[in-house]
Amino acid sequence: MSGQEFDNKIIQWVDERLPIFSILKHSAVDYPTPKNLNYWWNFGSLAGFMLVVMVATGIFLAMGYAANTLVAFGAVEHIMRDVNYGWLLRYLHMNGASFFFICVYIHIFRGLYYGSYKAPRELLWALGLLIYLVMMGTAFMGYVLPWGQMSFWGATVITNLFSAVPVVGDYIVTLLWGGFSVDNPTLNRFFALHYLLPFVIFALVFLHVVALHTSKSNNPLGIDVKGPQDTIPFHPYYTIKDLFGIGVLLLFYLGVVFFAPNFFGEPDNYVPANPLVTPPHIVPEWYFLPFYAILRAIPDKLGGVVAMFGAIIILFFLPWIDSSKVRSAKFRPIFKQIFWIFLAVCLVLGYCGSQPPEGEIVIVGRIATAAYFLFFPLLWVLGKVEKPRPLPHSIAAPVLKGASAGHAAQPMEKA
């Protein structure tokens, strides 16, 4: 990593003592990236961009906010009406959470489709899931801060999930609350943790990137890079592509911020929190809805909580559950169809989570929950019985449609 030569004497002097420039050059400039990445590979860096936006807007929002139940709701309105550009900061932050999750969900499903979780990228996948878990905690606590009705009742329902833990459940909930109900101590600690956790995410992202640069990027063909002829340097080829992606993301993100800033929100959260009245229909933010549907699908308190957490925990074991050695769904005809069914099941679960738990919705939610969990054993069986299509010999081979395409003995061209 060190030992690079830089033309600039000052950079050279610093780098010999602290190799930041060598590290930067190694991981952001020279990093050999497969030359066939498609646009689905943009969403990792887009998620990173959203993290930076969230931290930047969040720091300035914190300067106008006060984590006290007597003033919190008013403080958010103060930011909206009185603080210079406060409305912009808040709407960027509020909708930024949704777009952060959109990027991360696309990133996760891309990994699923192209088998990016398989060896040697198991830890890369696990670190990504950890980031996702910490994100969910951060988002949940952030939603509590405006101290509206949905903030309060969301906090009540989610913290009460832990009361399902046998024996010590009630002690855990009291510890989370710092009282006998969601109240001022709860709001205070949620604010403290909401400010802390994004920096934990930064640390996890750093490890995620280190793991990525160790096992290198997967690609749409899912086959290993054979040599330098299959890669191009990260800069300028992918920096410019990521920059273009950021431009497209900003079109959508700022479009919502400026033209429909409350599109993802719940009107009830503009009613100040009232501990004596539960809104008739409480729903979490959209990015939690599939898990909320799983929680409600099981007609037993502990069972529902176990299923909900299990739905995420099981993803950590995906690299070992999937018994197929072929990564990309391009070469797995049956997996490809099951992938789209799984995605549809997740969307159906999301819809069920948004509806009151009555009538057919309960039945549909239960079927979709069963389908969600069925995906995993199916994946294991599929790897044993599915006949994958023949893999190309190299990333370059399918592009060079000439004689080399199908011949194993064809020597690789030298880069």
């Binding site: 009540t156 329902v157 009282g179 006998f180 101590p185 409480i282 409600r296 308190k301």
Partner: protein
């Protein structure tokens, strides 16, 4: 090492195990010490003394007519006080305990049969059940109905239907006079 007078020099196995013991003992002290040091941090998140001090609420019941219900706040939670009618008491008493999810006789849940006093928090995930106002839905057992996930409670506040595992909790309370009660 060479110039120290070590009589164990000829018996290395003994010296090895003593060193191992010191290593494990030091490790154990370190782990226990860290755990003890972390406890104040965790315990600081438990309810503070002033939160614990807000533990009683006194209520005047004289204005609550038969069939009416009022909600008071105790420890930040709603407490339901319902002045039950004779029919409600009767229906709560005649329930067969065997068909209850959390079996408890009605007379174990009240001090005076006409006054039903409950913590108004659904035992599922903590929503406030409806049924206090005359216009509220009371569920099919005539008690309370939780709108969040559909739990229904009877006229003794016992869970009858839906995902909640337990009856509505009965707080500790004392009747100071016939028409005034102290909760907590």
């Amino acid at each position: 090492m060479a110039d120290t007078s070590t009589p164990t020099q000829g018996t290395p196995p003994e010296g090895e195990s003593r060193r191992d013991f010191l290593l494990y003992a030091a490790g154990a002290v370190g782990v226990a010490g860290t755990a003890l040091a972390v406890w104040p941090l965790i315990h600081s998140m438990n309810p503070a003394a002033d939160t614990l001090a807000l533990s009683t609420t006194e209520v005047d019941l004289s204005a609550v007519a038969e069939g009416q219900a009022i909600t008071v706040t105790w420890r930040g939670k709603p407490v339901f006080i319902r002045h039950r009618t004779a029919a409600e008491i009767e229906s709560a008493r005649k329930v067969d305990l065997a068909e209850l999810r959390d079996p408890q006789a009605d007379d174990k849940r009240v001090q005076k049969p006409e006054w039903l006093i409950l913590v108004g928090v659904c035992t599922h995930l903590g929503c406030i059940p409806m049924g206090q106002k005359a216009s509220d839905p009371r569920g099919e057992y005539g008690g309370w109905f939780c709108p969040c996930h559909g739990s229904a409670y009877d006229t003794s506040g016992r869970i009858r239907k839906g995902p909640a595992p337990l009856n509505l909790a009965v707080p500790t309370y004392t009747f100071l006079t016939d028409t005034s009660v102290r909760i907590g």
